[in-house]
């Protein structure tokens, strides 16, 4: 654990480049190639134990370990933020085991590993987005038998997905699923983007970047090659909709980003702020201001949150 290595050839220390041995990485890459060849199809892989608990995204970590090279720049986000314990430790893990550069800037990253959000900034062809997935099987909730769900995928029997959405509407009056909202990939496979919020589903559609999904506990890998059609399932009379907020971001005034509610004090004051911290700070750096930005007195509410620029 004392020495960092950035080259497989030098891998004589406690761990290999990016922790996994070369044979394991080759195995994962083969699974990835298959996944890319069949968009949305869940490819089983011989997942390895990683030096962290499953809940920490071992599937995503293994995928990142298999695709990362010494020249890559890694960004890790959890709920859109770069500074949570989970994101920080995964970033440190690769900084240490692969000696790669890390960044919090979406635009500077060549690989972005995420547990939850897709960055607000549009991704490019030279970037890879790696998702940490807890439950890869979208049919699981109604059909617990693995043999049966495999058959349903093979035969494109996806009626059950709509049973789930039907149930949502009959209970709540609308499709209440907000996370892990099922999508149809390339008109063929139904895929679970879990636990990404449905707000981000439209970003998956025709994305320029390669999207890779790794489920550690369930040992599955799936992928969306660049520019793949991704359609959220819905009903004709209950079309798919993304979440929207009445408020704007309290810090940067954004009205187009995914907002988290933040409790400000014990008097019940709260504000909404971009969950994508990089997006928010970049906007603030560019001079955008929301109603609760610190260079304005707290509590003054602006009908139009944009401060004079």
């Amino acid at each position: 654990m004392e020495q960092t290595v950035n080259n497989p050839a030098q891998a004589s220390s406690a761990y290999n480049f990016a922790y996994l041995d070369e044979q394991t990485k080759r195995m994962i890459r083969r699974a990835l190639l298959k996944a890319v060849a069949i968009p949305g199809y869940q490819v089983p892989f011989a997942g390895r134990e990683m030096p962290m608990p499953y809940g920490w995204g071992t599937g995503g970590v293994q995928v990142t370990a298999a695709v990362i090279g010494p020249d890559d720049t890694l960004k890790v986000i959890d709920q859109g933020a770069d500074d949570t314990t989970n994101a920080v430790s995964i970033r440190q893990f690769f900084a240490k085991t692969a000696n790669v550069a890390t960044t919090e800037k979406t635009a500077k990253a060549s690989i972005i590993q995420t547990r939850h959000r897709i960055p607000e900034k549009e991704l490019r062809e030279d970037q890879i987005l790696v998702y940490q997935v807890p439950i890869p099987e979208p049919l699981r909730f109604l059909e617990p038998r693995e043999t049966e769900t495999r058959k349903m995928h093979a035969l494109e029997e996806y009626g059950l997905m709509h049973v789930k959405l039907y149930e949502d509407i009959s209970r709540h009056g609308h499709i209440a699923t907000t996370y892990a909202y099922p999508v149809m990939v390339n008109d063929r496979y139904v895929m679970d983007p879990s636990p990404t919020p449905k707000f981000d589903n439209p970003k998956m559609d025709m994305m320029a970047a390669l999207q890779l999904f790794g489920a550690g506990r369930e040992k599955r890998i799936y992928a969306l090659p660049p520019y793949t059609k991704v359609k959220s399932l819905d009903f004709e009379d209950h079309p798919f909709e993304v979440q929207s907020w009445k408020d704007e971001c309290g810090m940067c005034g954004a009205t187009d980003s995914y907002l988290d509610e933040v409790i400000l004090d014990d008097k019940g004051n709260r504000m909404f702020v971009c969950s994508d911290t990089d997006y928010c700070s970049e906007r603030q750096d560019a001079g955008h201001r929301g109603p609760q930005h610190h260079d304005q007195p707290l509590g003054t509410s602006h009908s139009n949150g944009k401060a004079a620029e």
């Binding site: 035969l155 009626g159 059950l160 709509h162 039907y166 149930e167 009959s170 004709e236 009379d237």
Partner: protein
Amino acid sequence: MTRSNEPLLRVSDLTMMYGDRVGCRNVSFELRPGEVLGIVGESGSGKSTLLRSISAQQEPTKGTVEYHTRIDGIRDVYQMSEAQRRLLMRTDWAFVHQNARDGLRMNVSAGANIGERLMAVGDRHYGNIRNAAENWLGKVEIATERLDDLPSTFSGGMQQRLQIARNLVTSPRLVFMDEPTGGLDVSVQARLLDLLRGLVHDLNLAVIIVTHDLAVARLLSHRLMVMQRGEVIESGLTDQVLDDPQHAYTQLLVSSILQN
């Protein structure tokens, strides 16, 4: 009632072995549209085995099952691709299990249970699916206010009726039932049989119903097959078989019913 002469189903020389043990042996018959066939016999005589083999749930050791499909005409059901077979099973066929829990999704509402087959064949209009479900709930005499309730809150008789509605929503032509009234109270049984009889008649359904209860068989079926040790030992029109049984075993069956 229309009953064309073209058979809907043709079973030829069907045999199902469990290792050395006979499940059923050398069974052949034809079923016409709208015809109700009862399979009777004591426990262990091979009724369920035969039904499973006919209904594509258990491939027989020997023999064929041919079905007159809507699109492709007569097809051997075990020669179809799995996708075709599964589509047939959830559109043109229906299955009513003895235990409603085997035929229902207990963790979704009555409406979702009925709507499932519609969604499986591509219906994507929530309002239409819901209307169809509501309509079917009414047809099986369940209050439409129960549309959003879970089946687990239903009585045994209601669950059985829900199972029927869930199956009939795609207008199947052939229904398989294995002891559909088993385990229900006598009064609940009577109501269910009444409902089934009405539906079978109104929808011109062909039915193969397995039962050990000759009263049920008499009430529903046009024709009967009597099974003993895996073989069909007597068959014919229901009244004929029950009123004038030829085989000694059938005579015994009928007389034991009369004694009860």
